[in-house]
Amino acid sequence: MAKSIDVSDVNIYYGDFLAVQGVNMTVRAGAVTAFIGPSGCGKSTFLRSLNRMHEVIPGARVEGKIVVDGQDLYEPGVDPVAVRRQVGMVFQRPNPFPTMSIYDNVLAGLKLNAGKLKKNAADEVVEKSLRGANLWNEVKDRLNKPGMGLSGGQQQRLCIARAIAVEPQILLMDEPCSALDPISTSAIEDLIHELKNDYTIVIVTHNMQQAARVSDDTGFFNLKATGEPGHLVEFNPTKKMFANPDDPATEAYISGRFG
């Protein structure tokens, strides 16, 4: 059951430094939303505020409302641990746990919550998640080998399997392909297409073609000027964004006439 995200008036700080200012948007349920923009414009920072990973950094904080399923994530009673259970995340560089096997990596999140799982139930979750991540056929014979032994693209898909094993509502992806070769990248992009039936996906990417290929909606982040906070310039369906953007800055960026 994918969920939408309503963002209103979000400001994100690192200590006293305002990194992202005044973001308003609605991320549609069951769609892929891409964030594009130049380096340092705050798109990754904003992504990390969607599952309260931003506040892991000392001094970092978020103002404003981010509402998922009628619930503001930043309301006082909300447990960030519960938020992260519901909003999964895939990182820029594949990061399977080095001391765990492929099997245990997939189950890592589930074990935190469910305690001991029955063997066959666990087996099924592993198979389902790995199939969901298009990795099952490649690793089914070596589930007990360490996850670090896989190739970069396989590791990234393992991380996706690990994230979807806990069945989140939303999946955040922070430049998931930037450390991967083109073949692995296209495997992940295919996977994103399949996953959007079940999950709301938000992806940050440096690659505009990728945004155009995989996303339904696109948000363009930019800095007003060097040293100024980043902000959301334009948020529109991807088709419109790439064909006929509202904002001249977006057009400049997309057509490469940036800066």
Binding site: M53, V56, N95, F97, P98, A108, V166
Partner: protein, 323 residues
């Protein structure tokens, strides 16, 4: 074979070694090599001189080992028991504390607390051992008397473990107190090493755990501990090496006896090898001195082994991680 040529052959990494300065270079690199070799020589020297002076100590007539023992084995075994008992007490106390403090510094405290905490722990290392001994003997021992009584009352009746908590000493100068002082002394080294390996846990892995919905403690258990395991083991070993060889704390705190008992609260306990040397060297009877040097040799080999193992574990895991 002169030093500079070996250097040029053995060090392909130093491609700039072809820049030669003639005599000056040869003298300087020779001096550096000599300094390096002198370290090997010093370690070998420790072993050789202890062996020369101590080898006769293994096989003296029975009366030299008296009045409590008849042979070297009989002489050294109670000392080994004392050494290990005090060290193990120290480890039991220091290891969990050190791991906890290391976590405070690496993961729990904000930076403005972590830095002073680390400094305070380093200060513990800077205090000379004799001052610990003084503090332990004149102050801590008395303060711990009620604890001795409490341990005896509550743990004494338990079968098996109860033997450890027999009749308590009224002065508190016991193996337990010595172990506690040792624990404080080895705390900094264990803390320093573990905090180093803890803080080297890749941020990526920590964030992966948090993003899966782990609490902070679950994150530590999932990512920090597995990553740091061998570092933690070798930190404990290095702490053990320190505790085994520490002299003054035990010498000054413990009231010595030769009864082999398991009671860590006893009025008189077997002392440690190091403390025994410090207590007996003054007698300066040639025979006894040989025996003392022989026990020193045993201690040297023991600590060498422990340190060797600790370094080997670290080295092995570093190679594994580098792969």
């Amino acid at each position: 074979m002169t030093a500079p040529t070996t250097e040029a052959e053995d060090a392909p990494a130093a491609s700039w070694a072809s820049v030669r300065g003639g005599a000056g270079d040869r003298i300087f690199s020779g001096a550096a090599l000599l300094a390096g070799l002198s370290i090997l020589a010093a370690l070998a020297g420790v072993f050789i001189f202890l062996a020369i002076k101590g080898v006769t100590g293994f096989t003296k007539p029975a009366e030299v080992y008296g009045p409590h023992a008849e042979s070297f084995v009989g002489y050294v075994v109670p000392l080994l028991v004392g050494t290990f008992t005090a060290s193990i007490i120290a480890l039991i106390i220091a290891v969990p504390l050190a791991f906890g403090i290391a976590l405070v510094i690496s993961h729990y405290a904000p930076r403005w607390i972590a830095a002073p905490v680390a400094y305070v722990i380093d200060l513990l290392a800077a205090v000379p051992s004799v001052v610990y001994g003084l503090w332990g003997a004149f102050y801590l021992a008395k303060k711990l008397v009620p604890m001795h009584q409490w341990l005896h009352d509550h743990l004494g009746p338990i079968p098996v473990i109860g033997h450890l908590f027999g009749e308590p000493s009224p002065a508190g100068r016991t193996l337990l107190t010595a172990g506690i002082v040792l624990a404080i002394m080895i705390l900094p080294i264990i803390t320093a090493i573990t905090r180093e390996v803890f803080s080297r846990t890749p941020r990526l892995h920590e964030e992966a755990a948090l993003a899966l919905g782990a609490t902070r403690w679950e994150m530590v258990r999932m990512t920090v501990f597995p990553y740091a395991r061998s570092g933690m083991v070798s930190a404990v070993m290095l702490g053990l090496g320190r505790a085994l060889g520490e002299t003054m704390a035990v010498t000054m705190v413990l009231s010595v006896g030769f009864d082999l008992s398991w009671n860590v609260l006893a009025t008189s306990s077997p002392t440690s090898i190091a403390a025994n040397i410090a207590l007996k060297y003054k007698e300066r009877s040639a025979d006894l001195l040989n025996v003392l040097v022989a026990t020193g040799l045993v201690l040297f080999l023991l600590t060498f082994l422990v340190n060797f193992l600790a370094r080997w574990i670290v080295g092995r895991s570093e190679r594994r991680m580098a792969r």
